[in-house]
């Protein structure tokens, strides 16, 4: 099977329409950021995220009353009984999430016996300690006593991880290795608290600021490094066009992020850096072809014609490669779970923008540059402008000489 064989599309003709369209998309993004501000995630803004899973119905009103300035939302299916809590930034450093969880433990488990252990919250270590101190199996001071209790405790906690949270004690008792003695300890000395902590994150204001700076530097520097590399490998015009192309791809991705009101997190920065590195590939392939053709072309050709030819020659490769990456990204978006979802979505937009900008933005910039600098990149035929000395490509100066004469 083959697609896009011997095509002859006039990409260059549509470049102004494309530039207008891209500018429109970016302006919508700018407008949205100007209106709503950037939705910084806790990585950059500082603050805390806590994800909880509840044993029974989520006491959402209670949570809202308890944590007045937090944003609280249920996530997943209702039967998952999951809650995401986002706490705004503090101006002071400290164990923000930890303190909040401690407060919730007190407030949402009223009347809990302080002498009993909440096995929906605590893990293996505490449980091992409890079992070893009560010693229901009379292992006494044998060296392996603690190890064997630790094993049972691990089984119980693994069981909890499987079901998400214990909803009744029977689930805990069914873990492998639970003897009647241990079952008695579990029944008498532990209880099932109302929630389990799935994850918690705290980012202090200082770290947030630093991450923000690092992220900006990373994107800016990698863009410039890319431009410099391409300038060295090709020529200055192309370096400029590539940098504009990268900025375009990043801006479009950011505009999309604004449209879905997505959170600007570390993962998004990683996605942007990848877009910087990846979306340029199409452009490199295309320009590589321009350079190769320039060595082979016997007739005179304007830069517009050279670009069109190269883009048509590499079109099937461009579509195929982008297509295969898009397939992978769609799988990630659909099945990757909530952590990967936004990352993959932004990457998808970036890849599409990258392919699009290769056939629109890059030629637009290159042609504009060429016009400004006296059309140095056109291939001059025998009759054309003998006084304009074209820059000979380093590789094959001999071919060039033959044509220029």
């Amino acid at each position: 099977m083959q697609i896009f064989v011997n095509t002859n599309y006039d990409f260059v003709k549509y470049r102004f329409v494309a530039v207008a369209f891209s500018l429109a998309v970016i302006l919508v993004g700018v407008y949205l950021y100007w209106q709503r501000g950037v939705n910084w995630g806790i990585d950059f803004a500082g603050g805390a995220n806590i994800a909880l899973k509840f044993k029974g119905p989520v006491p959402i009103d209670r949570l809202r009353a308890d944590l007045a300035d937090a944003s609280i939302q249920q996530y997943g299916k209702p039967e998952d009984r999951g809650v995401l809590i986002r706490l705004p930034r503090l101006h002071q450093e400290g164990d923000y999430a930890g303190q909040t969880v401690a407060k919730l433990l007190r407030d949402l488990n009223p009347g809990a016996d302080p002498a009993k252990l909440d096995i929906n919250y605590w893990g293996r270590d505490k449980l091992t300690e409890l079992l070893a101190s009560v010693d229901p199996d009379n292992k006494g001071s044998r060296a392996d006593a603690r190890a064997s209790y630790s094993k049972v405790a691990e089984n119980i906690i693994n069981k909890r991880s499987e079901v998400g949270i214990f909803t009744n004690m029977q689930q805990a008792l069914s873990a492998p290795g639970v003897t009647t003695g241990i079952a008695r300890v579990l029944n008498e000395r532990t209880y099932l608290g109302s929630f389990n902590v799935l994850d918690q994150e705290t980012v202090g204001p200082q770290v947030g600021r630093e991450l923000q700076q690092k992220a900006i530097w990373a994107v800016v520097l990698s863009t410039l490094a890319m431009g410099a590399y391409l300038w060295l490998r090709f020529d200055f015009m192309f370096g400029v066009a590539a940098v504009v192309c990268i900025i375009h791809d990043v801006c479009v991705s950011l505009a999309f992020l604004a449209m879905i009101n997505g959170e600007f997190s570390l993962n998004i920065v990683a996605a942007l850096l990848l877009i910087v590195g990846y979306s340029i590939n199409d452009t490199v392939v295309t320009y590589d072809r321009v350079r190769e053709n320039r060595r082979k072309l016997k007739t005179r050709a304007t830069l517009e014609e050279q670009l069109n030819l190269a883009m048509n020659q590499t079109l099937s490769r461009t579509i195929l490669t982008s297509g295969s990456v898009v397939i992978v990204l769609i799988a990630l978006i659909l099945f990757g779970g909530k952590v990967i979802h936004e990352f993959a979505l932004i990457l998808l937009i970036g890849v599409i923008a990258g392919t699009y900008s290769t056939v629109t933005i890059v030629p637009a910039v290159a042609i504009a540059w060429n016009n400004l600098t006296g059309r140095k990149h056109d291939i001059a035929g025998p009759a054309a402008r003998p006084r304009v000395e074209p820059v000979p490509p380093r590789e094959e100066p001999t071919t060039r000489k033959r044509k220029a004469v």
Binding site: G123, D199, S324
Partner: protein
């Protein structure tokens, strides 16, 4: 087949075997590919060590030292005041020249710069080198303390490392009780004073046997360090100490290094008013018995109670000056030399880790299979060639991760399949080139030859650009993002090898020159 082709096949098979073998559990380790915190559950903490605590203590000790030296030299005792973390001023009584004090400071406070302020008082500022040394020691000590505590918990493969900005990064993978671990890291040391029963001995049983029968259930047997006559440590000695803790570290006000009658270093401490009353009640009726000073469940020393102690006491115990200083430091601020402040925490509970790895692997598998189907559908025979190269690429990425002990994170999984998507790009470049050459009327052999050689420069360029951005990810990224960058970089290098070398060898085997192939499935 010619000789060089056999060599190439041999090389590929050898690489395949090596990377598959390192992935077998038990060859390199039981868990060939380390899972990151986000997949395994665990805690990532960044703590700031408040080194100011240690500096202030040092400054306070210096000003106290100056006063006591003044008294010893029959000079009027100046009043002193600390003005910041590294500086204090001394105000001599009116009419006394400051010169004498300056001379004293030169002898006794070598780590301070002395200067005269216009208003009269002397200013003592810690030398930058000394301050830096104290900061360094404080961080080292904090790292050491945290490591000991984490090790005692039995966390496997913890990472505890100092970072710039007086920070410590702590990573505890697989911990399913992060709240407890955090508690333990951040708790300052548990100091306890407990009465000793029976006699210390070099093994637990002998110690317990020496305890009167009616007391056997009232004691804990704790380890301590035995010392010989010269004060050198001589193995472990076990002490039976009472379970009740009448006085603890919270009852202490201060502690400092002192000199005993023979000049030997010991640690003097003073108690809060409440602590003093409790200490009096403990020591009064027990004169002549031994009192164990227990720190983090280890017996530091067990001196004999010589008299009733109420407000202050001395801990003697064959200390070297360093040991005495350490102990004093530990008593003052718990065994952490300075307090810790949490700057960043990322904790993933074990159940979320299970969920993530499940959906991550599922997405990766679906993406991979879709990719394989698409490539085979489009390129037929050559597609199978690309898929083989891709599979080898996957094995190399995973094998490299196992060899370099890189950590697989959730974005890392995304990175792997994304890399595979990019690896396909190299194959596509080559295949499209071969097709072009065929359209130009080249023979199969020539088309393969030209396809590979013409695509080479382009492939290097596309890889270089992505490598540049991956290097920036590595430099600026944190935690899981770093893991992502590592997998990406590994994959990029592997993809040049597989798409270029391996894929070429497969073509060479399939379409051998001497068979004069007329058609190619591409």
């Amino acid at each position: 087949m010619n000789r060089s082709l056999w060599w190439k096949i041999g090389l590929i098979v050898a690489i395949l075997v090596v990377f598959v073998v390192v992935l077998i559990p038990g060859v390199l380790s039981d868990e060939p590919i380390r899972r990151g915190l986000d997949l395994k559950g665990g805690t990532h903490l960044v703590m700031r060590v408040n080194v100011g605590d240690a500096l202030r203590l040092e400054v306070d000790q210096a000003s106290e030292g100056l006063k006591s030296q003044a008294a010893k030299n029959n000079l009027p005792v100046p009043t002193t005041r600390r003005i910041n973390d590294t500086t204090f001023i001394a105000i001599p009584p009116a009419g006394i020249s400051t010169t004498e004090y300056e001379r004293l400071a030169k002898d006794f406070l070598p780590s301070f710069d002395v200067s005269r302020t216009p208003e009269g008082p002397l200013q003592f500022k810690m030398k930058p080198a000394s301050a830096a040394a104290i900061e360094r020691d404080t961080i080292d000590h904090a790292v050491e303390t945290i490591r000991n505590r984490v090790d005692a918990l039995g966390v496997t493969e913890p990472l505890i490392a100092p970072e710039s900005g007086n920070r410590i990064v702590i990573q505890l993978p697989g911990v399913d009780d992060p709240a407890r671990v955090k508690d333990i890291i951040k708790t300052t040391a548990q100091l306890q004073f407990r009465l000793v029963e029976g006699n210390p001995a070099s093994d637990q049983k002998a110690t317990l046997d020496s305890v009167p029968a009616n007391m056997k259930n009232e004691v804990d047997v704790l380890p301590g360090t035995a010392t010989d006559e010269l004060g050198r440590s001589a193995g472990v000695e076990w002490y039976a100490v009472r379970k009740s803790v009448p006085v603890s570290g919270t009852d202490l006000k201060t502690a400092r290094v002192q000199k005993g009658r023979l000049g030997e270093p010991n640690v003097g401490f003073s108690l809060t008013p409440d602590g003093g009353r409790k200490f009096g009640d403990l020591t009064g009726p027990n004169v002549g018995r031994r009192l164990a000073i227990v720190l983090d469940n280890k017996v530091v020393s067990a001196p004999r109670i010589n008299s009733k102690i109420e407000d202050q006491g001395i801990i003697e115990g064959n200390f070297t000056t360093q040991q005495a200083a350490d102990l004093a430091l530990v008593l003052r601020s718990g065994s952490l030399p300075a307090s810790l402040t949490t700057l960043e925490e990322r904790t993933v509970g074990p159940s979320l880790g299970k969920d993530s790895i499940h959906s991550g692997v599922l997405a990766a598998a679906i993406g991979f299979i879709a990719l394989i189907l698409a490539v085979i559908f489009y390129y037929h025979g050559a597609g199978i060639n690309a898929v083989l190269a891709l599979l080898l690429n996957l094995v190399i990425i995973l094998g490299m991760m196992a060899i370099f002990k890189a950590t697989l994170t959730l974005p890392g999984i995304a990175g792997i399949i994304l890399t595979l998507g990019m690896a396909i790009d190299s194959n596509v470049l080559v295949f499209e080139r071969i097709r072009e050459e065929l359209r130009d009327g080249k023979t199969v052999r020539a088309a393969i030859e030209n396809g590979f050689s013409r695509a080479f420069g382009t492939i290097i360029d596309t890889h270089m650009t992505t490598i540049i951005s991956a290097l920036f990810l590595l430099e600026f990224g944190t935690g899981p993002i770093k893991g992502f960058a590592v997998t990406l970089l590994t994959g990029l290098f592997a993809s040049v090898f597989t798409a270029f070398f391996v894929s070429r060898v497969i073509f060479d085997i399939t379409y051998q020159a001497q068979n004069r192939p007329q058609t190619i499935s591409i």
